[in-house]
Amino acid sequence: MLGKTANGLFWMSRYLERAENTVRLIETGQRIALTRSGASDDDWTSVLQTAGALGAYKEAHDEVTRDQAIDWMLRAGDNPSSVLSTIKTARQNARTVRTAITGEVWEATNAIYMYACDTLRRKVGERDLQEVLGHVRRRTALVRGVTHGTMLRNDIYDFARLGTFLERADNTARILDVKYYVLLPSVRAVGSAIDNVQWETILRSVSAQGGFRMEYGNATEPRDIAHFLILDRRMPRSLAFCIGKICDNLGYLAASYGTQPTSLQRAIKMQQKKLSGDMDAIFDSGLHEFIQDFLSDLADLGGQIQTDYRFVE
């Protein structure tokens, strides 16, 4: 396989995952605005921050308003992480790897692109917003579904999966990074209505409210949330789950190529050193520091994968 193709597959999947995550963040922001009286535009600042879009937003706008924040994350052309921009980039990458993906994966990707170009050409009105967001989310799920259902389990699939899980781990870690303070043990004593909203926000941002209830019931404990999102290996958006998948896929690649690349060793190290202990250890050494370290290790891992597999010259 060409290094360029591996690169294209990796980024195609990353961008699709990013589009989906951004949609989920907007949906969460919207949910807060609709269900909580006294919700303010501050909530959108934190949503923007979680989406990694606050800095660029502030360069383009004087103040954070709900309307503009949604538009920025959904369709702004000068925001490379907007849903529209990421879908375009994903599709561009899909075109460069057209020969590596199945016809069904291409068609599903092209279909999101056509839908997004068509629907997000103009500002999305309030009454259409939910529907549009739901539509994008379902369509990204369709790409994942046909990828799962039609692609050979070979190196092509591995590179696509690596992109997905690196992006997903990054997204979950950024949500934790922005909201870590509401999960600290010291906050537990407070347990105010505000905290409840914050906790719900976190769970919703990773579509985990149902899974969490199934495991922990209705009593929301911040420590449980932190555990669920960081260490729970059954939760498909947790850091441990994502790194586990990355280890698996790097392992398959290493086996089929007969090499032991540095990236695999790094991933295993992250899993063993950071994600195999318990929450006490993480709280003791500092939740914030833990997340910061994790994000930095994750970025290094992405870079190492690109080097190991000759994505670029």
């Binding site: 060409l2 290094g3 075109r95 057209r98 016809g103 590179f159 010259e313």
Partner: protein
């Protein structure tokens, strides 16, 4: 149901249905217009979804566009096809013999059958190919011979595409679309299949591999990249052949071979089906500014380390000035009379011809010698006074740059419109594969149709569409 002199392939020159269309017409009579309109929308949707698009140069607003597809097939009888394919094979063999000759002993010039200036003063002649024999002696692994029809038994070759003819993906996708939408048609009509093309292409390219390669040569398709107008086709062909689609920056010369950067290091390529023009192929040997090619590939090529398909320098064979000598070329190399006719051509470089062309400009089609894609072309009968006078100036200034041909009354085939069937002019591009194992022509080819009423320009870049082309196995 046609008027005037135009020959319609369904109705001939009158109201008598021609035999190849009988089966189809019978089916069509049982269809209602509403269903067909729905089918046409379905076809558009299908093309859009599969991403069968092309890019139009110089149009920032429309990065990708669909080529309009018409649901009425163009139908050719097996007798007609047998005759055409014999003529096409003869022509392609002659072109390859011609290319070998002019890059070696130039017997055709010594014999006085082709003026020396046609070669020496021709930009399409590639001096770097002198004395180079490509692996297997094949120059045009893939060619597209553009044909037009003016009567029952009258076909002309309009153009030989010996560089990198495009459009074959449309031939294949048009058929897929028809099979999907109208399966019953293919149960009741014996239509010769075209789907074997990618496999034939791969076999043909592999058979042309250099001696240095192993039993299973590595084939790759070289594309200029996703912004090229034919990128879809490049990706499609690579996908269908199961080979890598590479760009210049994926390749480099390693140990005397051209190799591609894979996830496991550099891997040599035996046959490169390149969809990049000669000038951009090798910055060390041709255009030094090229970002699309591979530095040093020509040196590997000359040393027999890779097959480049088509060979560099084949452009001389589809040059429009050389075209006018094709009857002589065919006869010289095959010793036979040409089976396919050329369109009568005036070489404006010749004084008498130029005078005639200037006097009859409004009745002629004038083409730039090195142009392609319908750009830089004048169609006399439909041109405005301003266009005529502009071309008059161009012709007088650089006569050697142009040829002229009578405006042919191209045949029509009906297209489906909201107001029912309507005749539109068509041409045909059959695709020809050539390897040391022989010539292979896919039955049919790409039918291009001018969608505007009365228009003779079928190029997709100028508003043309396409049709599925049937060769009946009758």
């Amino acid at each position: 149901m046609t008027t005037g002199d135009t020959y319609d392939e369904m109705w001939g020159r009158g109201d008598d249905l021609r035999p190849p269309y009988e089966g189809y017409k019978h089916w069509l009579d049982g269809e209602d217009a509403k269903r067909l309109r729905a089918k046409r929308r379905e076809a558009d949707e299908l093309f859009r979804l599969t991403g069968i698009t092309f890019n139009v140069y110089g149009r920032a607003d429309a990065e990708e566009r669909l080529i309009p597809f018409d649901i009425i097939p163009r139908i050719i009888s097996s007798r007609e096809w047998r005759k055409l394919s014999r003529g096409i094979e003869q022509r392609v063999r002659a072109i390859n013999a011609f290319l070998h000759d002019i890059y070696h002993r130039q017997e055709i010039i010594r014999a006085g059958r082709l003026p020396k200036e046609m070669i020496t003063q021709n930009e399409a002649f590639e001096p770097k190919m002198i004395g180079v024999t490509p692996p297997g002696g094949i120059y045009t692994h893939i060619s597209g011979i553009d044909l037009v029809r003016t009567g029952d038994d009258q076909f002309y070759v309009l153009e030989d595409n010996a560089r990198t003819p495009s459009g074959v993906s449309y031939m294949l996708e048009n058929r897929e679309t028809m099979l999907h939408m109208f399966p019953e048609l293919f149960l009741n009509n014996r239509v010769m299949p075209v789907q074997g093309y990618p496999r034939d292409l791969h076999a043909s390219l592999a058979a042309s591999a250099p001696d240095i390669s192993g039993a299973k040569p590595t084939v790759a398709v070289l594309t200029p990249g996703i912004f090229n107008s034919a990128y879809y086709e490049h990706a499609f062909l690579a996908d269908q052949m199961g080979v890598e689609l590479v760009e210049g920056h994926d390749l480099r010369v390693v140990d005397g071979r051209v190799a591609m950067r894979t996830t496991q290091g550099y891997q040599p390529i035996d046959v490169l089906y390149r969809r990049v023009d000669d000038a951009f192929l090798d910055p060390l040997n041709f255009n030094p500014d090229s970002q699309l090619g591979v530095p040093g590939i020509m040196d590997v090529y000359r040393a027999g380390g890779i097959t480049i398909a088509n060979a560099p320098g084949t452009g001389i064979a589809d040059d429009k000035a050389i075209y006018s000598y094709m009857p002589e070329i065919v006869e010289f190399y095959t010793g036979e009379r040409p089976l396919l006719e050329n369109v009568p051509t005036y070489r404006c470089s010749e004084k008498d011809a130029l005078a005639y062309v200037l006097d009859n400009l409004s009745e002629l089609v004038v083409k730039e010698v090195h142009g392609s894609g319908g750009y830089g072309m004048l169609i006399g009968p439909t041109a405005s006074k301003k266009e005529l006078s502009e071309f008059r100036k161009k012709l007088t200034a650089r006569p050697g740059n142009y040829i002229a041909q009578p405006t042919l009354s191209l045949s029509t085939v009906p297209i489906f419109t909201n107001a029912g069937l309507a005749p539109r002019h068509v041409d045909l591009r059959p695709f020809v594969l050539y390897s040391p194992k022989g010539v292979r022509i896919t039955p049919g080819g790409l039918t291009r149709v001018a969608l505007k009423k009365g228009s003779l320009v079928v190029n997709s870049s100028q508003g043309g569409g396409t049709k599925d082309t049937w060769v009946l196995d009758d």
